[in-house]
């Protein structure tokens, strides 16, 4: 079933104590079923951790919970002859009841352990310790496999001390791990604890930890790129509407402004989803105040232009001027410069003026029934200098909420500022703020398609900001 050399950890425990929550958070998979109903995990599920070259470095197995531990232990105790025989006796138990329904859950959870998995025993320390837990802990002890207890807390009460006093007698390592609040540091900490369980597993676990840490860095870099793209997209966002011959922008402005705000919100939502997917929150429901019109000064550009072959009037004038100047320049060259560039100047002026005057007619021209131009109303971009900062603040706040969220958490993500402050402003010094402001201004003022190198430069500046946001998120 499992390659012997692959360190594997079977996450076991009584039903409804948070085994699947622990697995969900550990393997960053919000698709693992976590439910208040007991007994939702009906089958063992193996989550492999692979290196970049495809090798499996370690694996975690989610298992069904103990259902009949006292009776299973009674069966084992009746047949025990010596401590040395206990692992074999557990194997005999599984062989005896594997095909029946009587101890189906116990057989399912013990099988990976008998195949060589180490034990990760999960308890809920928000509930009091009871003596009847000893049956399952005793069975696990009888397997002879390396064992670690994880003290999870599903509810609000605290019985950690009494649990630890009992667990310390059965397990060599006992760790706190709140599956609903643990972040990256806790997950890596748990992996580090795995290496203490089994000397042979250390090299692979160390490699897995290095891969995880490198991946975490990579993800933060990509998140910075996504936020940078959002800001670039936001500050250059324009929405175009075709304009009939005698129509005016003012007639449609209220509707088009609403469209523009929707376009901004849509871009922000795309970035949100991209970051959530990056951090493997594929099923996240999010509660966040929409980007509101009252969040910034509604300083929206709206202008009409004419297009011929996709070029606006000024581009046509420039192109016409260049073409005219080129022809005039040729004449100048033909006279060996004796015309003192008069040809170039006149050609440029004539070309530019002709293009300006000709645009109006050119927009009406049709080639093969298709118009080569037309009147276009361009709404946007927003002129408010605070707007990119608002986008950045909201993005950093969302990033911090996502990056600190455990995958076992199933409640909607609430993106709210802490202490009444937004995300980015409290994490930036003046110099960095200035550099980011300059990078955004460069993107906004460039006009035309956004240059990817400008976005990359902005992303480089945002990387450390997101790192601080990660630290602040704990």
């Amino acid at each position: 079933m499992t390659e012997p050399a692959v360190p594997t950890f079977a996450v076991v425990g009584r039903v409804n104590k948070g085994k699947s929550s622990v697995v969900s958070t550990l393997v960053e998979d919000d698709g693992v079923r976590v439910d208040k109903e007991p007994g939702t995990t009906r089958v063992c599920t193996r989550f492999p951790f692979r290196a970049d070259d495809g090798r499996v470095l370690c694996a975690a197995i989610d298992t069904p919970g103990f259902e009949e531990a006292p009776r299973a232990l009674a069966w084992l105790q009746e047949r025990e002859s010596s401590a040395a025989d206990r692992p074999a006796l557990v194997a005999r138990f599984v062989a005896t009841f594997r095909s029946g329904a009587e101890f189906a859950d116990e057989c399912a959870l013990l099988t990976p352990i008998l195949d060589g998995a180490a034990i990760l025993y999960v308890v809920d320390a928000s509930l009091p310790y009871r003596r009847n837990y000893e049956a399952e802990m005793e069975i696990l002890r009888w397997t002879g496999r390396p064992r670690m207890a994880l003290v999870n807390r599903i509810g609000g009460d605290d019985h950690v001390d009494e649990w630890k006093r009992a667990l310390n007698q059965y397990f060599s390592v006992v760790r706190d791990f709140d599956a609903h609040r643990s972040g990256f540091a806790e997950r890596v900490g748990l992996l580090r604890a795995f290496r203490e369980l089994d000397d042979a597993a250390r090299p692979r676990i160390d490699e897995a930890i290095r891969a995880l840490e490198a991946d975490w860095e990579r993800r933060r870099g990509r998140a910075a790129a996504i936020v940078a793209e959002l800001i670039a997209d936001g500050v250059t966002c324009t929405v175009e509407h075709p304009l009939a011959q005698h129509d005016t922008i003012e007639r449609h402005l209220p509707v088009w402004e609403a469209d523009f705000l929707s376009a901004l919100r849509e871009r922000e939502q795309r970035a949100r989803r991209a970051i959530e997917r990056l951090y493997r929150h594929d099923r996240l429901e999010r509660h966040e105040a929409s980007l509101g019109r009252d969040s910034f000064t509604w300083d929206l550009f709206a202008q009409e232009s004419r297009r011929v072959f996709g070029l606006d009037q000024w581009q046509l004038v420039r192109a016409g001027a260049v073409a005219g100047a080129t022809i005039g320049g040729a004449i100048d060259v033909a006279t060996l410069g004796h015309s003192f560039l008069v040809g170039t100047v006149i050609g440029g002026v004539v070309g530019g003026v002709a293009s300006w005057l000709g645009t109006e007619q050119a927009v009406e021209v049709k080639v093969l029934g298709q118009s080569v131009g037309g009147r276009v109303a361009t709404i946007g971009p927003l002129g408010d200098p605070q707007f990119p900062w608002i986008l950045l603040d909201r993005a950093v706040l969302h990033f911090a909420s996502v990056v600190g969220r455990a995958h076992a958490e199933r409640d909607p993500l609430k993106v709210e500022p802490q202490d009444g402050k937004q995300g980015a402003s409290r994490l930036l010094d003046r110099t960095t703020q200035g550099a980011i402001g300059a990078a955004v201004a460069r993107i906004r003022d460039a006009g035309g398609p956004v240059a990817s190198e400008d976005v990359d430069a902005l992303a480089m500046m945002l990387g450390p900001l997101l790192e601080r946001a990660t630290e602040a998120a704990g």
């Binding site: 063992c44 492999p48 997917r277």
Partner: protein
């Protein structure tokens, strides 16, 4: 895409790059869970070797997997327009070259052909255009605002026209339903961003226009050679300026530097002096015909060869731009990560072993009434519940008005003591109260205990499960816990079995 290109080698083609950008834009608006699930499936199909694949190979296989079978993709449409332009433009410019040269070499037998006009159009004007082309080829960072000033940053000129036609054609196809409606939206976004393929497209367009320029020069060359072969042309030079023929000779010699070794193509001082044009002057047509090697050499050296070099350079840069495309930008990087992640770091879970049978379906609760106030019951304390006999008597008395006759522990371990305690329940027909902590979910163990109790007491003796909550104070159980217990117990289908909350 209609053709399966998933196993093609080399860097992504322009068509694939356009499709990649369009697909990523599509995914932005898609259901994140569905997108994640689709890509996880594709990643699984790529197998454990996926991380070792190049990004281009990985994306190519992804594109093949998400393509709509049978329909030409958006990228293929755009790309085919480029291909057509790549063939049609050189044909058009070849004809234009022939026409231009023929016009410039028009000779009516009286006024000789003006060398300066030929050079102005086919050498100097073309030289200026080439200078602009080279300017456009320089790295954007070097030029900054210069490109923007003359409009080259948005692909003005022939290249911009070709690009606009390609995209416009794809938009028209979208309007006519040949490309899905989403394609049109994608095109709008592509025009605004082109983050992935803009660099490749820029060099591809430059290569197309330079090939067209080569064809123009070939056309001009062919027309020139043809005309000087079949017609006796006479050449002269004239300007409105007073220029010494010695100066003009130096000028022509400087121009002839690249082919100085070809003596017949370097005009002599006598030829230059004899070729100066004055209205009404008599010429020696045999002598003036000697200009044509110079003109042909000038066209080749200053028109054809530089255009060939530019065309080759642009083609090489287009190939290099494709090959060096890192595909590490924004969502593209996230996609590659998603595909590689299917086989690296924590992968999706795989089922091992066989599934445990699910809990039996819920059966409606039975109709047995709750025993009346004053009933004397026998109590069983389940699984070390934190409830003493005295506390239980107080709680049951206050809650249900019952009295407790006996109090025993049951733990589900089925040992002889426990079997004995359960067997003794048969001695009386008093109702049985099983006391349990509600926060401990009902396991199969408790279901089996209840079945054992039923076997002992007979079919019609009420068995009541009394739940209490609170981990320290015997408080009321939570409604959720009570519901879960009721569901599990109802699955036993025992009409004389009830679950009650023991809350004062």
């Amino acid at each position: 895409m209609s053709a399966d290109t998933s196993h093609a080698r080399g860097p992504l083609t322009l068509a694939e790059l356009v499709d990649l950008e369009a697909r990523l834009l599509d995914d932005r608006d898609g259901d994140p869970a569905a997108v994640a699930e689709r890509d996880a499936r594709i990643a699984a199909e790529l197998g454990p070797g996926a991380p070792a694949l190049s990004r281009h190979a990985m994306v190519r296989r992804w594109l093949a997997a998400v393509a709509t079978p049978g329909a030409p993709s958006l990228g293929q449409r755009v790309s085919s327009v480029y291909r057509i332009a790549g063939v049609a433009l050189p044909v058009v410019t070849f004809v234009a070259g022939v026409g231009t040269a023929a016009g410039l070499l028009a000779y009516d037998g009286r006024d000789p052909v003006n060398i300066m006009a030929y050079l102005a159009v086919l050498v100097f004007l073309q030289g200026l255009l080439m200078a602009l082309t080279v300017l456009g080829m320089l790295p954007r960072a070097w030029l900054g605002g210069v490109l923007r000033l003359i409009g080259l940053d948005r692909g003005a000129g022939v290249a911009g026209l070709v690009r606009e036609l390609a995209h416009r054609s794809a938009r028209t196809l979208a309007d006519r339903g040949v490309i899905p409606a989403s394609g049109r939206a994608a095109l709008g976004n592509l025009a605004a961003w082109q983050t992935i393929y803009a660099g490749v497209e820029r060099w591809l367009l430059t290569a197309i226009t330079q090939r067209a320029a080569v064809a123009f020069n070939l056309g001009a060359l062919a027309a020139t050679v043809y005309l000087v072969t079949v017609r006796a042309l006479a050449f002269a030079w004239s300007t409105t300026l007073e220029i010494d023929p010695a100066l003009m000779t130096r000028f022509f010699h400087v121009m002839a530097t690249p082919w100085r070794w070809l003596e017949t193509a370097v005009p002599s001082g006598e030829l230059v002096a004899a070729s100066r044009y004055f209205p009404g002057r008599e010429y020696d047509p045999d002598l003036l015909g000697d200009w044509w090697p110079f003109l042909v050499a000038a066209l080749v050296a200053y028109g054809l060869v530089p255009r060939l070099v530019l065309a080759a350079y642009a083609a090489q840069r287009a190939r290099a731009a494709r090959a060096t495309l890192a595909l590490d930008h924004g969502e593209c990087a996230v996609l590659v990560d998603r595909l590689a992640r299917g086989a690296s770091l924590w992968g999706r879970g795989d089922t091992v072993g066989t599934a445990v049978a699910p809990v039996a379906p819920v059966i409606a609760a039975g109709g047995a009434a709750l025993p009346a106030t004053g009933t004397v019951v026998r109590a069983l304390r389940w699984a070390d519940a934190a409830m003493s006999q005295a506390d239980l008597e107080r709680l049951v008395g206050a809650t249900l008005g019952w009295r407790v006759a006996s109090f025993d522990d049951v733990r589900g371990n089925d040992d002889p003591d426990e079997r004995g305690r359960l067997a003794r329940l048969a001695d009386s027909d008093r109702p049985v109260l099983v006391v349990a902590e509600a926060f401990e979910p009902p396991s199969k163990s408790v279901q089996r205990l209840l079945q054992s109790v039923r076997r002992s007491v007979g079919a019609h003796v009420p068995v009541v499960i009394g739940l209490f909550g609170g981990t320290t104070d015997h408080g009321p159980p939570s409604p959720d816990d009570v519901r879960i217990w009721r569901q599990r117990v109802a699955a036993l289908g025992d009409p004389w079995l009830r679950v009650e909350a023991l809350s004062p």
